[in-house]
């Protein structure tokens, strides 16, 4: 069965959170709660509990990026220093650790920052195409709930949104 999108706009987080709670509690055929997307102008820690646990994996990118950056820097610098045939070291250590630590530290940070941002883009799905329904009010002062469901589920979804005082409900045109 073809699926269509609905976007409900709310005045505040309370209304949106109540609507999500009810959607979660109600079993609606042709609608999966995991397809629900909340859109808001600011971060919404209060609603996160209602949305349920969702994994955040950016920190793994950070760990890998920082370690790779540090290791790469150390080995590049150390391998350049280790070319002792070309450089006269005069009895000093070929690979001096204290100064190399400074460069390793800088590149540890650089790798961490770059790969964290790469991880952010991957995990947040950016750059993204415009979703089927979008309202610029979401970047202003309203909270949006975007859901996807079978034709049969749309009426129930609309009823729940209306019950929780949705300001506006947008519906994707049928195909």
């Amino acid at each position: 069965m073809s699926q269509r999108h609905l976007l409900a706009l709310f005045n505040d987080f309370d209304g949106a959170a109540a609507a999500i709670s009810e959607l979660r509690a109600t079993s609606i055929k042709g609608f999966d709660i995991d397809d629900l997307i909340l859109k808001s102008p600011i971060e919404h820690p209060e609603v996160e509990a209602v949305l349920g646990d969702k994994p955040i994996n950016v920190q793994w990118f950070t760990l890998i990026g920082a370690c790779m950056g540090g290791l790469l820097a150390f080995f590049l610098v150390a391998s350049a220093q280790a070319n002792f045939f070309a450089q006269i070291k005069g009895g000093k250590p070929i690979v001096p650790l204290p100064p190399d630590f400074v460069l390793t530290y800088e590149m540890f940070i650089l790798g961490g920052v770059f790969i964290t941002v790469l991880g952010f883009l991957i995990c947040a799905g950016l750059p993204a195409k415009r979703s089927p329904l979008y309202s610029s009010k979401v970047s202003e002062d309203q909270i949006g709930i975007l859901v996807k469901g079978d034709e049969s589920a749309l009426t129930t979804l609309k009823t729940i949104f209306t019950k929780h005082r949705a300001l506006e409900i947008q519906e994707e045109a049928g195909r």
């Binding site: 859109k39 600011i42 941002v117 975007l146």
Partner: protein
């Protein structure tokens, strides 16, 4: 009590006010821009003259090998630190009063670093061989000395600049989406559409955004500290009298935060008036900023005293002579001006009546930065003028008009970049101000509920 921000300010109004700043600033904006372009013109003229004639026109000589260029390079690097202080350190400390002002402080970080970078090029003179700055072994038989703080500098500043640009950009993505949604045509629309990366404020985007911003902030704090410690090592690791001081790295970091905070006060006053940001850049926030600046000024003064005391009571006679030379020789007026502007003048920031007096703060903040610039000059010039060996002493050297012209123009260059940024990108973070309003409203509701409960 004054509020950092009004709780009843509508979110839509925040968007409207900030977006308006992208379109019609006060006339002063254009005057500042024009002056900045004229100043850049002076610097470009001097640089072209120096490039075509040779480094001799800078009037640097064999003992004065680092002139105003390196002093100003350190000044601009230092200036960049306050952006990190406001956006990263205060972010981790949940000081939400930073929210309306951190964006321009971050921009300041980026543009001061860009300005600082130019001084390396200007100082090198041979611009066509600038790639030699990059420390990598190559077929040119360049064997970088990885033990030299100058090489560390290149790594540190490149890391700091790229990380700061990324931090500024990532933090701006939700606001760029607001710009995209509200500006309907022209090159700006295209720019915001591309730069906002399709941001729609979904829960998935916010969740990952939050952790990314926090992580990058955590990286930036040690990075900022390391950058100025490394710049300090350029001096402290050498054996020059006046430089070989253990407390130099923290002294440099404190000086950097100090000059940056003073610059934030200056720009706060300018932006508040030029872009009509009175609702967001409030006097209460200014008061907090001034107190922070005062505290850092006192830390800087303390570290200065430590430096003088450790030289005075130490056993290095040359370093002691250098200190006496600074205080009584030809550089004495500048040295005492530095002490006055850096340590005495900020005492007035302790008085409540001055903490929100914008015209006075504007003048004082500029004078504080004059003091901080003098500090950098007083680190460099006297040590070269009165080094270890009497036959290298040169007490009469004075930087040429070319050096002064380029230094003067660098302030125009920074101002130009900064003002263009503020006209093209939102200089107040809209989503963070909304968060600030939202959380304060919640806190108020909580308070009144608690009162009702009793």
């Amino acid at each position: 009590m004054e509020k950092d921000i009004r709780e009843d300010i509508a979110w839509a109004q925040i968007n409207k006010d900030v977006l308006k700043s992208l379109e019609n600033p006060r006339k002063l904006y254009w005057i500042i821009l024009f002056i900045a372009i004229a100043m850049v013109g002076v610097a470009v003229g001097c640089e072209v003259y120096q490039y075509q004639t040779g480094m001799g026109v800078a009037n640097k000589n064999n003992s004065h090998v680092w002139g105003l260029y390196i002093a100003t390079f350190i000044f601009w690097i230092g200036m960049s630190h306050s952006g990190t202080l406001l956006s990263a350190i205060l972010h981790l400390m949940h000081a939400d009063w930073r929210k309306p002002i951190y964006r321009f402080a971050e921009a300041m970080t980026t543009f001061s670093l860009m300005t600082a970078g130019l001084f390396v090029l200007v100082h090198l003179g041979r611009l066509w061989q600038v790639y030699y700055v990059m420390p990598y072994p190559s077929e040119r038989w360049v064997w970088p000395n990885f033990q030299s703080p100058l090489v560390w500098d290149m790594f540190a500043i490149a890391t700091y600049l790229s990380s700061s640009v990324i931090f500024l950009y990532v933090g701006m993505i939700p606001d760029l989406a607001i710009c995209r949604d509200n500006i309907h045509s022209g090159w700006r629309k295209k720019l915001y559409t591309v730069m906002s990366l399709g941001w729609e404020g979904t829960d998935r985007q916010w969740r990952n955004f939050r952790i990314t911003y926090l992580t990058v902030a955590c990286f930036l704090i040690p990075l900022a500290v390391s950058v100025h410690s490394i710049v300090a090592s350029d001096f402290a690791m050498s054996n020059m009298p006046g430089w070989h001081v253990t407390s130099f790295p923290p002294y440099f970091v404190a000086g950097a935060l100090y000059s940056g905070c003073a610059a934030i006060i200056t720009l706060f006053v300018i932006l508040r008036y030029t872009f009509k940001f009175e609702e967001y850049m409030t006097l209460s926030i200014m008061r907090k900023l001034v107190r922070l600046t005062f505290a850092i000024a006192m830390v800087w003064t303390y570290l200065n005293m430590i430096e003088f005391a450790s030289v005075w009571y130490g056993h290095d006679q040359t370093a002691k002579d250098q200190l006496i030379f600074k205080a009584t020789g030809p550089y004495a007026p500048f040295f005492w001006a530095m002490i006055f502007f850096g340590s005495i003048l900020p005492l007035m920031l302790a008085f409540k009546r001055f903490q929100t007096h914008l015209p006075i703060l504007f003048v004082v903040s500029i004078l504080l930065n004059v003091g901080m610039w003098l500090e950098r000059w007083m680190i460099i010039a006297p040590s070269f003028a009165h080094g270890h060996y009497p036959w290298t002493w040169d007490h009469d050297q004075w930087p040429s008009f070319v050096q002064w012209g380029i230094v003067f123009g660098s302030f125009g260059w920074f101002t130009l970049l900064f003002m263009v940024f503020c006209k093209v990108f939102p200089s107040v973070s809209m989503y963070e101000v909304k968060e600030m309003v939202y959380h304060r409203t919640l806190a108020l509701k909580g308070k009144s509920a608690a009162k009702g409960g009793h």
